[in-house]
């Protein structure tokens, strides 16, 4: 069963979870055998920007040991064979230069969405 994970919100609880929980979930089900790919849409296209570096959270005398490394997590997903794509219209809307994107990302357009969705058995939107 082929699954497309569409991720739209970004930076939701990523600091406390030290990851994006949907990217994490995707890696987890891929580990369980799922043929799952990712489409970054809406604000989540921001995850594809190269050079993200989340500062460690400090609260009182508490300091975070492992801030989220979303770019790294996406890279691992791509390295594992997942197709990770991003909607060009959403990148452009947010003024994100295509030269500033991580390696291995597939750029897709809204026009291509029906065809893309048609290639998967399940489409789960987050």
């Amino acid at each position: 069963m082929r699954v497309l994970q569409i991720i739209e919100p970004a930076h939701r609880a990523t600091i406390e979870e030290q990851d994006d929980t949907v990217l994490w979930f995707t890696r987890a089900i891929r580990g369980a055998g799922a043929a799952a790919d990712v489409l970054l849409a809406g604000t989540a296209v921001c995850y594809a920007v190269r050079g993200q570096s989340c500062p460690a959270l400090r609260v009182g005398d508490w300091e975070q040991k492992h801030p989220p490394a979303i770019e790294h997590e996406l890279g691992r997903l791509i390295e594992s064979g997942a197709r990770v794509s991003a909607l060009v219209e959403d990148l452009d809307e947010r003024g994100i230069d295509r030269r500033a994107l991580i390696k291995g990302l597939v750029i897709t357009t809204r026009k291509d969405l029906p065809g893309l969705l048609g290639r998967y058995d399940r489409v789960w939107k987050w």
Binding site: I6, E8, G42, R110, L113, G118, R122, W124
Partner: protein, 107 residues
């Protein structure tokens, strides 16, 4: 034929993405059977007074538009106030559509 079942829960007047998704649903309807099931605040799109703008060309594209009767009643939208082509439905109908194996996407 391919089938898509979109459960739309977002407030169309708050979520800027609502209109963009409508565009996708119209495009999907080009070669698939598409049902949009409005739930929660998304049923606000079903009022006749605004549906033409908010629901765009869904009906013209052959998209079946259903609205959760529970949510309609909760918001005081009576049957007579529904846009033409929007049908009030119970969640039993949603279950039936899920049972038909449509690609189900909750928005």
């Amino acid at each position: 034929m391919k089938r898509f079942l979109i459960v739309e829960s977002r407030d169309p007047f708050e979520a800027a993405s609502f209109a963009a998704r409508n565009g996708l649903h119209v495009a999907l309807a080009g070669d698939a059977e598409v049902t949009v099931f409005l739930v929660e605040n998304a049923v606000l799109a079903a009022r006749a007074a605004v549906a033409a703008i908010v629901l765009g060309g869904l009906r013209a594209a052959g998209v079946q538009v259903l609205a959760d009767e529970f949510a309609l009643q909760e918001r005081g939208i009576a049957a007579g106030q529904l846009a033409a082509g929007v049908e009030a439905a119970s969640l039993d109908r949603l279950v039936v559509e899920l049972g038909r194996g449509a690609k189900a996407i909750w928005c």
